[in-house]
């Protein structure tokens, strides 16, 4: 891990959280669909990151969001779940020894792999997030609908951002 990767990730963290807290927090369609773009930071952390550091970063990012959303622990838990899904998916879909790309972004991994990766992570994150927020199973239909619509919204924005910053790199 050289210093360039660290600087890029720090800048990305600040940018994404800034956008999330000051712009997307105020957005939402009929209280049904709310985008959570900040998960992109966790998705784009480099491959070589140790598990414990990944969990700590996920937990810390979640807690920062919680501080601004006044939902202590909800985002943190959802981010931890996302980290677990990320580790599991990468270890299943990629051969650990053969990974030579620095980070799991669209530019390096291609649309198919990245979209599936982002989809699974975002769905896991949003399911945990919305169910922890509702905290009961009686409104399961409404919660699932909110979750599904928010997933679509978040994924759309994530793919949009990734395409904007797409760099044609030799694979």
């Amino acid at each position: 891990m050289n210093s360039r990767i660290i600087i890029v990730n720090v800048i990305r963290w600040f940018l994404l959280l800034f956008v999330q807290i000051f712009l997307l927090k105020n957005m939402g369609f009929y209280d049904l669909s709310t985008p959570f773009i900040y998960v992109l930071f966790l998705l784009l952390l480099p491959f070589g990151i140790p598990n414990i550091l990944l969990y700590l970063l996920a937990f810390g990012t979640g807690l920062t969001l919680d501080a601004f959303y006044d939902t202590m622990g909800v985002h943190a838990t959802a981010c931890v779940v996302l980290a677990f899904v990320r580790i599991s998916f990468i270890s299943i879909s990629l051969n650990r020894d053969a990974i030579d790309d620095p980070e799991p972004s669209l530019s390096y991994m291609g649309f198919q792999w990245f979209s599936l990766y982002a989809f699974l992570c975002v769905v896991a994150h949003h399911l945990v997030l919305f169910f922890l927020e509702t905290f009961r199973l009686t409104e399961i239909g409404y919660t699932l609908m909110r979750c599904g619509l928010s997933c679509i919204f978040t994924l759309l924005i994530i793919l949009l951002v990734e395409f904007i910053f797409y760099r044609r790199t030799p694979r």
């Binding site: 414990i52 202590m72 622990g73 943190a76 677990f84 905290f135």
Partner: protein, 279 residues
């Protein structure tokens, strides 16, 4: 032990996940009042249901004991019943009449003629001397509220000088602090739903909404609801306070009234007549 460490480090992602997830859930439940209340409530429900089940079971175990006690009680009651049925009741009966100990008795009467539009209103009821009605008895409304006094009595009929009359004065008190006053109607007000409380001492604080009840000093029993103050502390020229009140009695729809018979009225009148006015 070494194998355990290898196992844990091999699946470190999962174990770390468990640790962080538990911490996250703990933070959520600890710091958010809504989530905490849901958790507490559902756990209370679980505990409560468990206790309920246990209670049903316990009741079943106690059935034998309950049965025995019921049988014993049954036997006792049956023996008492036997004792009662064998007594010759016609022979020697001593009835303790609690009714005659009561000071006030009510007699229901139907209103046969009513007037509310005049300055001095009088109504007629279908009970008279035959029913034990005497002049000066108090009359109250069925649910709540006062009506007036019996004025003239014939054999089967009687007239009531209702509250809506210039000579009617009823002794009342504020329920809150027992301040005395007298209830009058008229004086520039001819609304049948309103009356005045007059001659309340000046140091008394009267508020809108205070309940006014009868004092019990005159023919009325104490505590009959009269009305609620609607305008407090009306200034008058004398040294007393006045207040306007909404009457509970609806004189326009009065169908039945209760005549209050006071057992001790004669006694009280006789006793009080011994005191000379300007002694």
């Amino acid at each position: 032990m070494r194998n355990l460490w290898i196992f844990i480090s091999r699946y470190n992602a999962f174990f770390l996940f468990i640790i962080f997830f538990i911490v996250g859930i703990y933070l959520t439940v600890k710091n958010n009042s809504y989530q905490r209340s849901v958790t507490l409530n559902s756990s209370n429900e679980v505990v409560g249901t468990a206790y309920e089940r246990l209670n049903i079971f316990k009741r079943y175990l106690n059935l034998g004991m309950v049965n025995d006690s019921l049988a014993a009680e049954n036997a006792k009651l049956k023996s008492q019943l036997l004792g009662l049925t064998t007594i010759d009741t016609a022979k020697d009966v001593k009835v303790v009449d609690t009714i005659t100990n009561q000071q006030y008795t009510y007699l229901a009467a139907k209103v046969v003629k009513n007037s509310i539009t005049l300055r001095n209103n009088v109504m007629t009821i279908n009970k008279g001397t035959v029913d034990g009605i005497k002049s000066g008895m108090a009359v109250i409304a069925p649910q709540r509220g006062v009506v007036g006094f019996i004025r003239d009595v014939s054999a089967h009929l009687a007239t009531i000088q209702s509250l809506l009359h210039k000579d009617t004065k009823i002794s009342v008190t504020l329920k809150k602090n027992h301040a005395l006053g007298s209830l009058v109607w008229g004086d520039g007000n001819f609304d049948i739903k309103k009356a005045f409380v007059k001659e309340v001492p000046n140091h008394i604080k009267m508020y809108v909404g205070d309940t006014v009840v009868t004092s019990g000093y005159a023919a009325f029993p104490a505590g009959i609801l009269v009305g609620k103050i609607s305008k407090a502390n009306v200034a008058t020229n004398d040294n007393f306070l006045s207040g306007e009140l909404n009457l509970f009695t609806d004189f326009s729809t009065l169908q039945y009234v209760y005549v209050v018979k006071d057992k001790k009225a004669e006694e009280q009148k006789a006793l009080e007549s011994l005191v000379k006015p300007n002694e």
